[in-house]
Symmetry: C3
């Protein structure tokens, strides 16, 4: 297909110095790949992407050298994605269009960041996390594995804006934060917890808790939730959902037993 031949580097792409490109990599038209970028095998970079965007120091320091950017194999970056220098992305990383991810960030394996996502840098994210469109992940956020963050959620980091000092949000494995919620600085969201839509979370959320409202208060645990439309249990979600997860097709329990046995 025009402008996007799989496995080819479009001749209009600009490729900097010391760029390592794996086997069968696709780079779309009008991309800019700055110095010291490494792209794993079979990765697809859509048109108009910028990889290794220089940090502010570039404009101030004549001896600036671009920090390395590493993108794992089998990744897919949609058109217009901008990744700054100095971050690391594990295999199977996926972005929607026009995602921005700043420096000093580490994503694990098989993570997804939806359209317009704005990851502010200096963050750590585990494996198999799914961020829907237009999330804002403030600096110093620390996010576990299998975490879901829905559109327009903001993780903040300044308890006394703009004075600081900054303190990040921490979110544990399997938690889900629904659309348009704001998590205040330093809040810890426990594993499997669920934050309802449009909440303002000012206090720590215990594991498996469900919190809603502005300000958010706990209304129960995930075991109290009757799924719509039929009233069946739907949480913990990992026992009822497997698309794109490592337990796809076998179920979480079977996968977890295999994992504990060292087989997965």
């Amino acid at each position: 297909m025009l402008g996007f031949e799989l496995g080819k580097i479009d001749p209009s792409a600009r490729i900097g110095r010391n760029v390592e490109i794996g086997q069968s990599v696709t780079i779309g038209c009008d991309c800019v790949i700055y110095d010291n970028v490494r792209i794993g095998d079979n990765t697809v970079i859509g048109p108009h992407c910028i990889l290794g965007e220089p940090t502010m120091a570039f404009y101030r320091d004549a001896s600036y050298d671009n920090a390395p950017l590493s993108i794992g194999p089998n990744s897919l970056l949609r058109a217009g994605t901008v990744l700054y220098a100095g971050s690391v992305f594990g295999e199977g990383f996926q972005t929607g269009g026009r995602v921005s991810i700043r420096e000093g960030t580490k994503f694990g394996r098989h993570c997804r960041v939806g359209t317009l996502g704005d990851i502010q840098g200096l963050c750590e994210v585990g494996d198999y996390c799914s961020f829907h469109s237009n999330v804002h992940i403030g600096q110093l956020s620390s996010i576990g594995n299998f975490v879901w963050i829905f559109p327009y959620v903001v993780l903040t980091n300044d308890p006394n804006p703009p004075v600081g000092p900054m303190v990040g949000v921490r979110i544990d494995d399997f938690a889900a934060v629904a659309t348009m919620s704001v998590i205040l600085p330093g809040v810890h969201i426990g594993s499997d917890a669920l934050v309802g839509a449009h909440a303002l979370v000012r206090k720590d959320v215990p594991a498996e808790a469900v919190v809603v409202g502005n300000p958010a208060r706990q209304i129960g645990t995930i075991h109290d939730i009757k799924g719509r439309p039929d009233g069946q249990a739907v949480y913990p979600w990992r026992e009822h959902f497997d698309r794109g997860m490592p337990w796809e097709g076998i179920g979480y329990q079977a996968w977890n037993e295999r994992r504990r046995a060292g087989l997965a």
Copy 2:
């Protein structure tokens, strides 16, 4: 004017196979037009746009063929708009900069989507709808005619995130949803209703109702609203506003009578 000569196709644009381009179409620089796109007469495509962006199946299926994308005549797409394959846009469609609209979507005639709008696909939108900047329209949304959606509104679709099953929001003719409101999955907003700013709408909203707050509750009907600054009636808005509407210059009532008589 440089880089944007009306009625011309910039030589830097990449044009795929089986692309139908109408009379007097403008295509700006660095655009990518993938296979099977149809562009109606007198339409203007700004620089850096991508039309017919392939769906995920492209990366997985060697026999993939891009679904057709059709853009009606007299449309205007601002710079950086991305429209996926497999959608249909009626005449007079307008986008602000960097709009994204995914596959399987149908917009009627004379709709507008403002800067950074994120239409997630599998949606249906009627005629003369106006979406301001940065709206997020979840999959399976169904929107009538003459609907207004203001900045940062999110229409959701998953009652048990991330488990599903997805159920879309439905909004009837002439309704307006003010900025930063979230509409929960499956909610039905009746015709001429008004959702106030920063509301969380969990229940259906009757026709002509006004709802506000988090969670939203009904505080009256649109007939109770005294317009600012002078206390005059301003709703239903169609009787007090006509810019860009088919009743511009003649008023809603006269137009509606003509329409009923089969004249408009």
Copy 3:
């Protein structure tokens, strides 16, 4: 560094008529500079930017001439910034990636607009204002000096959407509006005031007031706030923060005394 050599104009950039480019200006690849743009000395324009984007009149009026756009010296526009024709930016202006700023806007000196910021035009902004990512500044907003606006804040302007008439928000010097807050049309936020996260501000906010909630109510003044983590005073912020401010290194009080004496 590839594609972005400081002090050079990339040959792929399109430069219109009557464009004035100062000394040591950098223009990145694939930029479009329309007619009647003026760029001050030492300014850096990243790749894929569009300067002087024509207003809607361009498409309707054959005699259209692009209104001048002026960008002050020592500015830095990140990749994908779009500035419409007919605005003025003072020296040291900075944008994050993919900022959009429409026509008829005036920014003073040393202002910053973060990633994805959407400034709707017909606004006035003073000096040393900092807008974080993804703010939405509605038309007719009037913002003083040293104002902080955090992510996903929306300044509205239509008291009777979509009927109007529009009336802008006014924010005085040193005020700060925290993330995801909505300010309703015509509201005046006094100097040094603090609007908490996720607030809906319907009424004027007095100088030095702290307001929180949906709807917002006053919970005290900035002098009541004990900073985290140590309980020390942190407001007014100008006495506790100086990065990027004209009092950097000397403190606000000393700078202000010098300023009053005509020395700063």
